[in-house]
Amino acid sequence: MKYVDEFRDPELTAQLLQELEAATTKPFRVMEVCGTHTMAIFRSGLRALLPPAIELISGPGCPVCVTSASHIDAFLQMAELPGTHLAVFGDLFRVPGSNGTTLAHARARGAKIDVVYSSMDGLDLARQNPTEQVIFPGIGFETTTPGIAATILAARQQKIDNFMVFSTHKTMLPPLMALLGDPALGIDGLLCPGHVSSIIGAAAYQPLAEENHLACVVGGFEPTDILQALILMARQISEGRAEVENAYTRAVTWEGNPRARAMVETIFEPVDMEWRGLGTIKGSGLAIRKEYAGFDAQSRLSITVPESKEPPGCLCGQILKGITTPPACPLFGRRCTPASPVGPCMVSSEGTCSAWFNYGNDSH
């Protein structure tokens, strides 16, 4: 397959692995921020091939995983209101709220919930069902938010007033600033998320690199993309540099996508946001502006977001912070499996626990 096979070429991979080995002069810890990176590293088998001096820690970049239990409870609350119809991303469907109930349970009890691939599908659903209130639970980072903003703009333009978004949208930099400021984490390098970076631009990581002396490298998602990013990172660490470099130039520029950011700015404004496992982080969320309140499910349906209760024993919070790895959790693989997940990191296909469970390798 064009544009994919080239980046999974076994010979090139072997060559890059040799280069990485040579560039790695001392052990270092890398946080891969994005869930897609976590999954790609496991799925491609790359994890087992990397030099043992490189330790990979997964970060808080799986949008489903960081959605708080209280927000899932709010989604459930909306699903059970008469006349509502939820359009949700597939991996949100099986995430348990604070008492273990999921949207899948709600649907089995009669709630109208459709799995959609894009928020625009939700808008179509609203158009086709004018007597229903179609609600799209908005989750995700800078990668998904522009699409949601575009959908709200389209809804206004097309005068579709039975479409709403419940925004739990988050931005990537505030939690990274909060997490990486903690020296106990001991992170030397940051594998910056390729998709988010295509919007915010590589330049966005400059404060992180400078303030925390971190080697920040933007990486793509194919094995050779990831290796190239790790080589740049290993060289920085060997030479004591802490800079932002871009190893994903076919998708990411220094400035990012100002048009997409402007669209997000039109619809959303920064708010404090609760993250699963990380608590409330100042200015890390996006709420729908008053001018677009007609599309804001939370205000229109007067949904109160209850306080989060984490499932007892679940270590997702620590896993999302990179403090611990899934096998250290007493629930992992026992009470918590992809078939009956306790914590969100096991639910999402991009979740760290799910990646370890599905693709975990004996060698690591």
Partner: protein, 341 residues
């Protein structure tokens, strides 16, 4: 039937009265009739034949009911035939149970019955008994089908997952994921370029050629990787046989369209359903011969040896990735869902 093209299924069609009889004669017997079925007795009586009986049943509730490469009718015939074939049975006959939703267009029902006729005649396995019920609108989704099948297994022939042996070569009869991705993209209304189509087909003829062409006892296991895909079937075989299974990603046939759709939707073709493929575990010394026999059949033209069973870590399936890494393959948990980004 032209007068019926505008017509729909009514509750009367399942009442057992005149409307039922009209449906049976003008639709079912017209297309599916044979000596046994057309007798309209309460049960079909088949001639006794040598061998042991294989008996299987499966229900079909696919949405959408029509899709590129087949429909619910072709699946209902091929799926049950394949379940018989996977034990080495020669399929003898099928039953056909229909649950119809009130309001189903008669034209849709006829299209499905014609598909069933074509699949049944094409495979040489007749429908010998049947039943139809109609439920009120909203109590079923258009049409549900159950087929049961009876087949004959030659004396001495033992094919099962428990018979897999260390050293066995694993052959996949063709590309994986075609059916699953076709259904998923059609269901979600995702329009993708390329020729995505279900692989729905009967495999018993190819299996009979393998049995006839290979030394006795050299085919150990046959399994059709339907729901849960190749990954889940291999995990089941590893679990039942107590063997480890090692497969090579680079050797597993996947059509470019299927790979591309999986990349876009965040799905792994190893977990997508197939409706016309089988996994075959054979003794290593005849593996090349088995592969050649399969490749000589249209059903197995793209067959490939994808891995080996070993005595390593019992029950474990390991994939060697294209870049030379390894990862564990686990069974499917829940339904495959497209991911957020």
């Amino acid at each position: 039937m032209s007068s019926q093209t505008q017509k729909t299924i009514l509750l009367d069609h399942g009442s057992g009265g005149l409307a039922s009889q009209e449906l049976i004669s003008s639709l079912f017997l017209k297309h599916l009739g044979n000596k046994v079925l057309s007798a309209l007795e309460d049960s079909a009586v088949m001639e006794n034949q040598p061998g042991r009986l294989a008996f299987t049943t499966d229900s079909y509730v696919v949405d959408p009911i029509f899709f590129p490469g087949g429909d619910i009718g072709t699946l209902a015939v091929h799926g049950t035939i394949n379940d018989l074939a996977m034990r080495g049975a020669r399929p003898l006959c099928l039953s056909l149970g229909l649950i119809l939703e009130e309001g189903l267009p008669l034209a849709d029902l006829e299209r499905i019955i014609i598909s069933i006729k074509d699949a049944s005649q094409g495979s040489g396995v007749p429908i010998v008994t049947g039943d139809t019920k109609v439920v009120p609108r909203g109590k079923a989704d258009k049409i549900f089908i159950n087929t049961s099948g009876i087949g004959l297994v030659a004396d001495g022939l033992e094919i099962s997952a428990t018979r897999a042996q260390a050293g066995d070569k694993i052959i996949l009869s063709g590309s994986m994921g075609d059916h699953g991705i076709t259904i998923m993209t059609r269901r979600a209304g995702i329009a993708l370029a390329g020729d995505l189509r279900s692989d729905s087909m009967a495999l018993h003829a190819m299996v009979q050629k393998l049995l006839a062409g290979l030394p006795e006892g050299t085919i150990h296991t046959l399994r059709d990787p339907t729901r849960g895909g190749v990954a889940t079937s291999l995990c089941e075989i590893a679990g039942s046989s107590g063997l480890m299974i090692e497969i090579e990603e680079a050797h597993i046939p996947v059509r470019a369209e299927v790979r591309a759709a999986c990349e876009i939707l965040g799905l792994d073709p190893l977990y997508l359903a197939n409706e016309g493929k089988c996994l075959t575990l054979v003794a290593p010394e005849i593996a090349d011969q088995a592969l050649a026999l399969m490749q000589a059949c249209p059903e197995g033209a793209e067959a490939a040896i994808i891995g080996t069973a070993t005595s390593g870590n019992p029950g474990r399936v390991v994939l060697k990735t294209t870049i030379g890494g390894t990862r564990v393959v686990t069974p499917l948990h829940g339904a495959p869902l497209p991911r957020i980004c």
